[in-house]
Amino acid sequence: MLIRPKAGILDPQGVAVERALPALGFSGVANVNVGRLVELDLEDPEQLQAMCEKLLANPLVEDYEVQLLEESGHAGGNGRGS
């Protein structure tokens, strides 16, 4: 699950990173947002959305995106929520 701040909500961590990059000589960087990645193994992928809504993300302030990988590691589908 990729969880990121909703668009339009100030992300101070992203702002700090955005200011740090030019100091290292990287130019043309904009709209930096820092989210988080939750990796897990589970038997029933149907549960993922409820997990995100109830605990892993706060839908009031965060968007999440689910990426489903089969055991082989290939992407088996994905979905978005907000």
Binding site: L10, P12, Q13, L55, L56, N58, L60, V61
Partner: protein, 225 residues
């Protein structure tokens, strides 16, 4: 009357909360793993870092066995006060509107703040009147109150904005300078600053915080009479 102060692993302000509650009534500690609220008359969820604040502040604490009882207690009209981390827990539990985000200044900040009472007609502020100033310490990294515009308007219109940071004191970047909100019914209240740390001029910078606890006592006594 008796206050119950709910302790999680990682709570750190439960002792001061007990002290403050004992200035106005009886108080005992409740443990997060117990479903029973021991028949207390009001709940205080103190500050700290419940469950390490992992994931998001308050996110995991919200599912503690005691919280299910607190949610039922609130649904019955019981008074619930959430301070700092307690406020975050109440927002995560959807007992209060909005969410608390990382401070706009990105820093943990500890300072005395001036607050203005916006609604002096709640069970938590009736020892004050609208416009009363309270001087209370705040200490947090995640205290920026956020809600959607329509939610902000609804809580303003509904008198749910109970406290605001006075001009120049909104160090965390909270929407509309909001420092404390209550639910629609008015029996659940959360604030980021710490009234339990301001019950004695010697250590708290003021004794203004006791007004919150006095208000709760008055409200409960009124309900009994």
């Amino acid at each position: 009357m008796k206050f119950g102060v709910l302790q999680f692993p990682g709570s750190c302000d439960e002792v001061d909360a007990l002290q403050a509650a004992r200035r106005v009534g009886d108080a005992e500690l409740l443990w997060h793993g117990d479903e029973s609220l021991q028949g207390v008359d009001a709940i205080v969820i103190p500050g700290g870092f419940s469950y390490g604040d992992y994931l998001r502040a308050g996110a995991i604490a919200r599912f503690a066995p005691a919280m299910e009882s607190v949610i039922a207690f609130a649904a019955d009209g019981g008074l619930v006060l959430g301070i700092c981390n307690g406020f975050q827990v109440l927002c995560e539990a959807r007992l209060l509107p909005g969410a608390l985000l990382v401070n706009a200044n990105r820093r943990f900040t500890c300072r005395q703040v001036e607050l203005e009472v916006v609604n002096g007609d709640t069970p938590f502020t009736r020892a004050c009147t609208a416009g009363t100033r309270l001087s209370i310490p705040a200490k947090h990294s995640w205290g920026r109150f956020h809600a959607e515009q329509r939610t902000l308007q609804a809580i303003e219109d509904g008198g749910q904005v109970v406290l605001r940071y006075a001009p120049g004191h909104n160090f965390n970047g909270s929407a509309r300078d909001i420092a404390g909100v209550c639910n629609e019914r008015g029996n659940v209240f959360g604030l980021m600053p710490h009234p339990e740390h301001a019950i004695d001029e010697l250590t708290g910078g003021s004794a203004d915080g006791i007004k919150i606890f006095e208000s709760m006592r008055t409200a409960l006594e009124g309900a009994r009479a």
